[in-house]
């Protein structure tokens, strides 16, 4: 069984898109770099490849389009006709034909241009050919743009067509618009077709599936057909006509007895007669719908006659099939889709008729003989004449009979609908609870009480246990009452309590202070006590503290006062106007030095145990200690290990012109040795007495003096007119110009380490040694 599925057709791009896709693919998947310096063959190959690649892609894509769209002649005539009805066969074929032509054109273009490219003689020419080729291919594609768009639309529509298998068991429903075809299909299948009061609600074919005798049946709902001449029919009606014409199916012709569809029985029967030619060889059932509005018996005589006519027509098909003539039930049926009366019966009848017909056809065909040999139905021979009827337990029989009596059971759903619908009414879930007393059904039992789960406490014998607990509790309480309170030891007096409180307060204060001191010790410098910045160590305070302890502070304060030197003003000789009678009082104050307490001996006195022989030794030791520290202190160093140099090259020492004295020692840098340089840049050579005449005037060494008559070796004179004696080369040192000195300190200073602390101390000028 071929399944017709038009959903798998690939998307057809628009003309422009198509061009874009192909060109970008060419760009990405072929090499992109070519230079005019390459060999000509290579250039030709490069461009030929591009052209061929583009052509192949076009060909491929267009071929897929052509292949995937169904050819109307090859598919089942039902689909062929359906597609023709929907899309017009000619247009469709034309479009596909255009695509085909385009494909061929592109192939031709490619062939031609490749032939030309084979003889391209420069990069420019090859490139131009390639551009032309691609351009023409793209124009061709752009020209078929409208066809592509049309095919895309067709494809989208085709994908949404219902997948109808033309060869399987099918039931076709047809009739006037609004007679109840879609409601019927909704009832028997899971299809959800729109049912609306206006005509032509169903605009295309709809498929549903239903089961009968373990077989699947397709049920096809068609749009309504009006009674018109064939040529005047519109596309929608043509759909149903096509279906009727091509599908081998059981046909259910729907008749609206009540006429509420807007058409009388006469009109409907007229339609019937006009399309009865389509019912050839199809099991036909006439279904009278909407019997709830009007029963079949209640219609007028004329209508009855018309119905009879239709029935007789239908019987003809039945007879043609070989069925019994008496079975009028199988041909004319009444039902109502609203009340669902007889709907299943109609379906069963239709399915049965169709099945019979198909089986008959199969039996008559030649192929069946091959299969028939393989079937064998065996019927067991009866052993004896004893009757063995079916065994059905009585309870089941009763239930069955009850079921037949009972009207349709009322569902909760109906209840809900009655009482206001889904959002308004909520069914009581406790309705069917089985409890000891039915009054308790709607009780709300609390789940939580006082932080406990009630369910955890529920127990059938909870009362009993509770009693026990109470008894226990009673006993315990008695026991507790019997115990006395023991008073061990005596209490402190209230004054003692007060003192204790004070003790504790003081302790806590000390502890707190200690904690603060401890925590800030690292970050805060601790001021030595003698500086007393908090002014904690005053006389008055001491006095207060002592008196709070219960002591007499007067003596202590007196002593402290006497020991202090007093204010400077008091000590100074002229006390304002010098009119002091008692002049020596101030003198005494002045002279009275603050004598230290006798806890420490004077410095020069040797205390046994310190390790000095005598005081002279001690004094010397102190002096030595001080002298070793003196230099460091002057250099502002913390100690021996302090080697910090804050700035290595302070600018004021390393910039500026050379001062007096330096200029003598460090001459100016110059490329040529100047004659008036005092030292250094002149070279003194040992000259051969013989060669002295050959000494050239433009020697780079320096100026020459006019050759002397004597054979004595020439000595180059300097401006300073100092005559240097003959010196050997070994003794000559070449002194480079001064400005490079500063850069290459290491080369000339004896102590060559750059940053040695000894050499480069803070603010000491670097001294050069020669």
């Amino acid at each position: 069984m071929v399944q017709y599925n038009f959903k798998k057709i690939t998307r057809v791009p628009t003309g422009k898109d198509f061009v874009d896709i192909i060109l970008s693919r060419t760009q990405r998947q072929t090499p992109t770099v070519v230079h005019k310096g390459y060999a000509i063959n290579r250039i030709r190959q490069f461009y030929m490849r591009k052209v061929k690649f583009t052509q192949t892609n076009f060909h491929e894509k267009l071929s897929t389009i052509i292949d995937e769209f169904p050819r109307l002649d090859d598919v089942h005539p039902f689909y062929g006709d359906l597609l023709h009805v929907l899309y017009n066969k000619d247009h469709y074929k034309l479009a596909l034909g255009q695509i085909n032509t385009a494909r061929n054109l592109i192939s031709k273009i490619a062939k031609d241009y490749v032939k030309l490219l084979k003889y391209g003689d420069s990069l420019y020419r090859c490139k131009a050919l390639k551009v032309a080729a691609l351009g023409r291919m793209c124009t061709v594609t752009k020209r078929i743009g409208p066809s592509l768009a049309y095919l895309e639309q067709i494809r989208q529509h085709m994908a949404r067509l219902p997948s109808i298998d033309p060869n399987t068991r099918t039931i076709l429903i047809c009739g006037y618009p609004n007679v109840g075809k879609s409601s019927f299909i909704n009832k028997i299948t899971r299809a959800d077709v729109d049912v609306q009061p206006y005509a032509f609600t169903t605009k295309s074919l709809f498929v549903g599936h239903t089961d009968y005798k373990y077989l699947r049946y397709q049920v096809i709902d068609t749009p309504g057909i009006l009674d018109r001449p064939f040529e005047d029919r519109n596309i929608i009606e043509m759909c149903s006509i096509t279906a009727l014409a091509h599908l081998r199916a059981a046909v259910l012709f729907f008749l609206d007895i009540s006429g509420s569809c807007g058409y009388t029985i006469q009109q409907q029967s007229a339609l019937f007669h006009s399309i009865k030619s389509l019912f050839m060889n199809k099991p036909l059932i006439i279904v009278c719908n909407k019997t709830d509005l009007q029963s079949l018996e209640g219609i007028s005589e004329d209508d009855k006659k018309l119905v009879e006519e239709m029935k007789s027509e239908a019987m003809k098909t039945l007879i043609g099939q070989g069925g019994e003539a008496t079975e009028s039930q199988q041909v004319l049926l009444t039902m109502s889709t609203l009340t669902e009366e007889n709907v299943i019966a109609v379906k069963n009848a239709a399915c049965e008729r169709l099945l019979d017909q198909r089986v008959e056809i199969k039996m008559k065909s030649k192929k069946i003989n091959e299969c028939l040999n393989r079937f064998h139905v065996s019927i067991p021979k009866p052993r004896d004449q004893k009757e063995r009827p079916v065994c059905i337990p009585s309870a089941v029989l009763e239930a069955k009979s009850k079921e037949l009596e009972k009207a349709k059971r009322k569902l909760e759903r109906d209840n809900e609908n009655e009482n206001g619908g889904a959002g308004v009414y909520s069914a009581s879930l406790k309705k069917h609870y089985l409890l000891a007393d039915d009054e308790w059904k709607e009780d709300n039992m609390p789940e939580i009480l006082d932080g406990h789960n009630v369910f955890d406490f529920v127990d059938p014998d909870i009362l009993h246990r509770l009693e026990e607990l109470e008894k226990e509790e009673g006993l315990l309480q008695q026991q507790d009452g019997e115990e006395d309170e023991e008073m061990e030891g005596e209490d402190l007096t209230p004054e003692q309590y007060k003192e204790l409180a004070e003790i504790r307060k003081k302790k806590s204060v000390l502890i707190r202070e200690h904690r603060i001191k401890k925590s800030t010790a690292e970050s805060r410098p601790i001021v030595p006590r003698k500086f007393d910045k908090d002014k904690k160590f005053t006389r008055e305070r001491m006095g207060r503290q002592l008196s709070s302890l219960g002591l007499d502070p007067s003596k202590a304060i007196e002593r402290v006062r006497s020991k202090s030197r007093g204010r400077k003003r008091e000590r100074s000789t002229d006390h304002g106007d010098g009119m002091d009678i008692d002049g020596d009082s101030n003198k005494k104050v002045r002279l009275r030095s603050t004598s230290r307490s006798r806890s420490r001996a004077p410095v020069n006195e040797v205390v046994p145990g310190e390790g000095y022989r005598d005081s002279a030794m001690k004094i010397k030791a102190f002096k030595m200690g001080k002298s070793s520290v003196h230099k460091r202190n002057k250099e502002a160093r913390k100690g021996e290990g302090d080697r910090v140099i804050p700035t290595l090259r302070p600018k004021h020492l390393f910039a500026g012109k050379r001062g007096k004295g330096k200029t003598d020692r460090h001459p100016v840098k110059s490329k040529h040795m100047k004659a008036d340089s005092k030292i250094g840049t002149t070279l003194y050579l040992m000259l051969d007495p013989v060669k002295s005449e050959h000494m050239k005037a433009d020697s780079k060494i320096g100026t020459t003096s006019p050759p002397a008559a004597t054979g004595f070796p020439q000595i180059l004179q300097t401006s300073s007119s100092q005559h240097f004696p003959l010196i050997s080369l070994k003794e000559i040192r070449i002194h480079p110009p001064a400005s490079s000195l500063l850069a290459d300190v290491s080369f000339y200073s004896r102590r060559s380490r750059r940053n040695s602390p000894r050499r480069r101390r803070r603010y000491h000028r670097i001294a050069f040694e020669r």
Partner: protein, 165 residues
């Protein structure tokens, strides 16, 4: 709807509170608040964390076994609803709570029994040993003299100066 116990601190977790953690071995840990949850993530043992019920029970601060605890037991099979039974249960819960509370109080009282005596002893000892912080050992008792002494100091110092003249 059920009230659960927090795994860490054993307090009740009401609906809408806390976090539930399900481990890969399907053990469920419920926490009443993020404090317990974070402690759990830090892998702290509730038996060592002072404020949890587990610690308190382990170290005897709270009552451990009692017949009132046996009333509350997780039942897996629900009982058929019976109004009278439910009424009785609700009343029973209240009395059980009262009993349990009373028993916890007695437990606490027993625990704290010797405290007053111990405190008094300590106070006496501290007073004895640390009295020097408040009252100097050789100090006189009267407060009137101490005030007088203060005044004397000021006069005497000026007198001294005059004497030296």
């Amino acid at each position: 709807m059920r009230l659960e116990k927090c795994w860490f601190c054993s307090s009740t977790v009401y609906p809408g509170h806390g976090i539930q953690f399900v481990r890969n071995d399907a053990k469920i840990f419920r926490f009443c608040r993020s404090k317990c949850h974070k402690n759990f993530k830090m892998k702290r043992n509730p038996r060592k964390v002072k404020w949890t019920k587990a610690y308190r029970r382990l170290h005897g601060k709270d009552m451990t076994q009692d017949s009132t605890f046996e009333f509350e037991r997780k039942r897996n099979r629900p009982e058929r609803y019976d109004r009278n039974l439910t009424e009785n249960t609700l009343k029973a819960i209240k009395t059980i709570d009262k009993v349990r509370f009373r028993r916890e109080e007695t437990h606490h009282k027993n625990r704290m029994k010797g405290k007053a005596a111990k405190e008094r002893k300590e106070a006496r000892k501290e007073h004895e040993q640390q009295l020097h912080m408040v009252k100097a050992p050789g100090a006189k008792e009267s407060t009137a003299t101490s005030a007088q002494v203060k005044v004397n100091v000021q006069h005497e110092s000026s007198a001294d100066n005059r004497m030296e003249e």
